[in-house]
Symmetry: C2
């Protein structure tokens, strides 16, 4: 019989954070290649953006007070003294009663403080323009620094770079950005029954898939996955492989069979890797109860159950937050879809359940159908669109309840 | 004055789909490198998974009917005839009254049809086991093909591969998967005021950022972005650059300044690239009204407004769906966060507005604060966490309304 002193996920993670000081390394990357990476340092703008006053309209640059009172029936008359050529600094200075033609994005000439849209003007002759609608100072103009001011912070540290952030950095001339290095996460599988995915398993053997499911999840979360191979169910082989790879990784994930002896082996191997060793054995989650959390010589080591569903769902809850912590990433909540639960789900209080669901669109919105299945069955996850969470202190959810579905992510 | 015969986004996309037959190319990829790619063909399982009956528990493999009636006070007695070694096919066949020791994941010996958990047994001596709880046939056993049956479809075509799908493919021995080739999307910027991001703009000039914001969005959506450079505001230069790159891309995106003359130029250049040419000029969206949709010689060509906010938000609505269409991807809705709107937003009926918002967590849940700003300002997007959509026939939303916030994506 086994008794676990189970802990909720956040308490277990906090135990790791107490014993682990991630040393975040920084690297400089071309902004154009930095999508999805995490800023290591808060970048500041070296310039005012824009650096000059720009028109937001096609029209005429004016001194605003010259247009006051102008109307369709009684227009203001201005003298046309030139045109702003796109991409150049106009050498014209306009005075009272004068105007220049300008296009969207053009640089305002000195003296002008507003732009009248071409739709509100009429050309009388070569040198004279009628203004049929007044403009306030600043109207249809982007001021210097209106987009971003010089020296101001443009992104927080710990921010995952999105497409628009690439543009924001380049716009102020920052072509290289300091990002956190990807933490290297080693993955070691253990089990006498495991063969490599490209081998033909003999009867009694199965392909090791956890290593690759976890590697994809780790890469998706910003880590660099190192698949370390398959250890056999002996302390010597398991410990040798774990120790050999341990120096080269920032974090180690072990997936091992779910038999009691293999779990004991995992515990012993982890304790042999460094201090303080195992911090927690047992999570208040289903699936995933027999998870082990440890820190060895300032590196987190996580022992995941061997069942593919447990391994994946626990890795989402434990390994992904550790990677984000190593990256120094500010965590933004994932998007969810609100759906109606299609079937009753029972749960036990004192543990948090994650139940995979498929989504189906109906006239009344999304319907979430639980995918029930043993946690040994990878297709429980393959056939699901996302999962719902049943909280620690709930004994289940009734069909018809409105639930939040957390979508499983591709790379999008 | 310009009049657009504006169309809602879906109608405009449908126009493109009517004139475009994407030719989806396929490539074979190692499953371990296929995360985020889209299946081109529905893969089928070559095997039953698992290929043999497996135990889900540590315990004893039995003939279920031998255990019927067994209880704590009156156990059933079975003769222990061996143990299943992990990763091997047991050469023992058990008969009535017999049992073998088995571990989680072990292969059931022939003759056995259930497993009794070790917790419900007691070892009397070397050869005898007490069974204190009955099991039904099949209990604690995964049947052959229970995870996935031989010949069955394991993923639909058009499915974006997630971490668990990598595992699902490898589990049945599929190490290479046929995915759609990434459509190559050319991006050409036009404007006399534009310089490359690593150049120092002279007064009147600005850095071209749209090309890189769009490139990141295109890569994130499954396309391959080809940045084609900057064309000057003349038909000859613009047309030459567009035509030169056109042969090598599957789709072309033009971003040009917002002045009337540049827009006319874009239209002319597009019409010169092939038949039928421009299909639609004007979208019922804000920002992004002056968008151009075209098909030239069976390639979509999209003319985006030059304002970075318009260019990005329209690309999300137009270019991303075209890429997914080219990939043959089944579209799964993006996750949203439900939030309370912090300020009134006005809108006009007959157009769909996208308003960037920042999210703030409060005691009552998420609060969405609109980021108002001219669509020339890239930092309107950099400072936002997502956007809300105001439907075609709404004239706005009141503060306090519950809204769905579509999160801007990093790569996660």
């Amino acid at each position: 019989m086994e008794f676990f002193n189970v802990q909720p996920v956040q308490d277990a993670l906090n135990l790791v954070y107490e014993h682990w000081q991630p040393t975040i390394q920084t690297e400089l990357l071309d902004c154009r290649l930095a999508l999805g990476r995490v800023t290591a340092i808060e970048p500041h703008s070296p310039i005012d953006l824009p650096e000059f006053r720009r028109s937001t309209m096609d029209g005429y640059a004016v001194v605003a007070r010259d247009t006051f009172g102008g109307s369709q029936s009684l227009p203001a008359y201005l003298t046309l003294v030139g045109a702003v050529v796109m991409g150049t600094s106009p050498d014209i200075k306009i005075g009272t009663g004068q105007t220049v033609e300008i296009h969207t994005g053009g640089m305002l000439p000195s003296g002008a403080d507003a732009v009248v849209m071409v739709e509100h003007t009429q050309r009388v002759n070569e040198n004279e323009i009628e203004i049929m609608s007044p403009v306030a100072p600043g109207e249809n103009v982007i001021q210097v620094g209106e987009d971003v001011a010089r020296e101001s912070s443009i992104l927080p540290a710990g921010h995952r770079i999105r497409p628009q952030d690439v543009g924001g950095l380049l716009a102020v001339g920052i072509t290289q950005v300091a990002v956190s290095k990807r933490p290297v996460v080693g993955i070691l599988s253990c089990g006498d029954e495991l063969v490599m995915p490209d081998e033909d398993p003999a009867p009694g053997q199965i392909r090791d898939i956890n290593a690759y499911t976890l590697a994809a999840l780790i890469e998706q979360s910003g880590g660099e996955a190192h698949v370390m191979g398959i250890a056999r169910d002996t302390f010597d082989d398991y410990q040798t492989l774990a120790r050999t790879g341990f120096a080269e990784v920032d974090m180690l994930v072990l997936t091992a069979g779910s038999s009691v002896s293999t779990r004991d082996l995992t515990r012993q191997v982890i304790d042999s890797l460094g201090k303080p060793g195992v911090l927690q054995h047992g999570l208040a989650v289903k699936p995933g109860k027999p998870t082990i959390l440890a820190v060895c010589d300032n590196k987190p080591v996580i022992g995941l159950p061997g069942n593919p569903v447990s391994a994946f769902l626990v890795a989402q809850q434990i390994v992904v937050p550790l990677i984000k912590h190593a990256l120094g990433e500010i965590i933004i909540p994932a998007g969810t879809i609100i759906a109606t639960l299609a079937a009753n789900i029972s749960s036990a209080t004192g543990r948090e359940d994650r139940v995979p669901v498929t989504l189906r669109q109906t006239e009344d919105g999304w319907l979430a159908e639980p995918v029930f299945g043993k946690s040994n069955l990878i297709y429980t996850l393959v056939n699901a669109d996302g999962y719902i969470q049943i909280p620690l202190n709930s004994n289940g959810l009734k069909a018809g309840t409105s639930v939040q579905v957390y979508l499983f992510q591709g790379r999008d």
